[in-house]
Symmetry: C2
DNA sequence: GAAAGATATTTCATAATATGGAATAATAAT
DNA sequence: ATTATTATTCCATATTATGAAATATCTTTC
């Protein structure tokens, strides 16, 4: 074989593997069953090669062949593995496309937060492009009792974790709507659990509203939350509880 | 190379590919980052081989390396591909493990249904092992207006689809709880959308209760629904709306 | 803070393995 | 029925993946 002069040995993938991964990619891209030649042609592979690689994929359930049409499609294994990946991955890289989608659709800032020692920490955010918008301080802390993501994350704690959270904690008042008593917050969290989403009805800042839903890990534990927030004049309470809350939940269900 | 006498040529996978897929599998199995040697040892591969295969996986984002620890983990691509696979796959093969989990945890029959021409069709089911249990007729039709999965699926229809559904339809009464008027059903569906789950409070059969949640496809359309049902003496209304509804929603969020 | 130990990465000669052309089989189209 | 198209299998060949060893990098341990 004639080597190119500047033979960068670096970055030489294993051919058969690289081709196999490309097969998986194109099957995902198409989204519906493909014939052997469709795959071969698209990837510039010989039919015999593609066929052999596909057979290997099928053996390991990474692909399957539709019995009636003979076409090839992704296998169940890709799903179960990808699903596991979700929880090993940095939650940000996974959540980002969905934050973006929420922002695009509702033109309001979408953000991602986790709980740390009872406080909310914003770990990612896609800001609305409007002039007036909500904007959290990335990496910054915020009290949980007055905001939507916080409530959702608190609602996901176990009873003993909650007790530790409440123990000796005083809830500062930011607006006339802020929940400041232990009992009221307990009840609020109960409601959040029931509804599946949390609200911030101008409880942190006058004129700012927010809905949030939890992201659960494979053990059913709420590990992060996604919120959409914006000014009250654009977001009525009914819009918040109806349209936005539903969209957010669906978004999470669809993707996570 | 010495061939075994009975050289079944059939079923000979592409070695490098087969090994690569095993790498993906074991990373998924462990669920957290692995060192090179952990992978090698577990799969009986030489470090150099594993390393080369991993590099190929990384190039294509099927794996990634944690910058701080140097450990390897699944890449974002596995997630996005697996996610796509979900909708190309038969919904049953995907939903089955979760039906089973629901049954195991709550000891009640879990089932999977789709909508066809306004009727519910049960396409899969994991029956409770108790003596008294709910059991749907697999493949069988049931009217949508009186049961939980039906309501959830109806709630996922577009307005025009809904109008076609309602048009000239009469709702038969099965129990004293059955919703029989168009207006009442409309309101009920509205409620289902809000809550994210549907109920059957002895509306099909006296003494049988059920909760259901929708499974959404990548377009956010409800394509199937999962329900848990059982006798009313084991399932109180508050248990149904609280525990069961929440568990089901989480289950779906976690997995789909 | 040095030295040893472990682990990761790169290199390279070798042969085992993946490859693609061709032959055959199975489907689809005419 | 005949042809055309597509899928699958076979097999000789050399390209490509392999593993031993060398090097580099990161951890311990003393």
């Amino acid at each position: 074989m004639v080597e190119t002069a500047i033979s960068h040995t670096r970055e030489r993938p294993v051919q058969s593997v690289e081709r196999t991964l490309r097969i998986l990619e194109i099957m995902a891209e198409w989204g519906y069953p493909m014939t052997l030649s469709e795959i071969s042609n698209n990837l510039d592979l010989k039919n015999s090669t593609t066929h052999r690689l596909l057979k290997t994929l099928i053996m390991k359930s990474f692909a399957q062949q539709d019995p009636s049409s003979g076409k090839y499609l992704l296998g169940i294994k890709t799903f179960s593995i990808g699903n596991t990946a979700l929880y090993a991955l940095d939650i940000r890289s996974v959540a980002r496309p969905y934050l973006k989608q929420l922002e695009t659709r509702y033109k309001e800032t979408a953000n991602l937060a986790i709980l740390d020692q009872g406080d909310v920490i914003y770990i990612d955010q896609v800001e609305s492009e409007r002039m007036v918008k909500m904007s959290a301080n990335l990496g910054g802390r915020a009290p949980s009792h007055s905001n939507a993501v916080g409530k959702v994350l608190l609602a996901g704690l176990t009873e003993s974790e909650l007790e530790r959270y409440f123990k000796g904690r005083k809830f500062e008042r930011y607006t006339s709507n802020t929940i400041t008593s232990h009992e009221a917050l307990r009840m609020e969290l109960e409601k959040v659990s029931q509804l599946g989403y949390g609200l911030d009805a101008e409880e942190t800042e006058e004129g700012i509203r927010c809905v949030a839903s939890a992201i659960y890990n494979h053990l059913g534990k709420a590990t992060a939350a996604i919120g959409i927030s914006g000014p009250g004049n654009r977001i009525s309470m009914s819009y918040l509880k109806g349209e936005l809350a539903t969209a957010e939940k669906k978004q999470l269900m669809t993707f996570l």
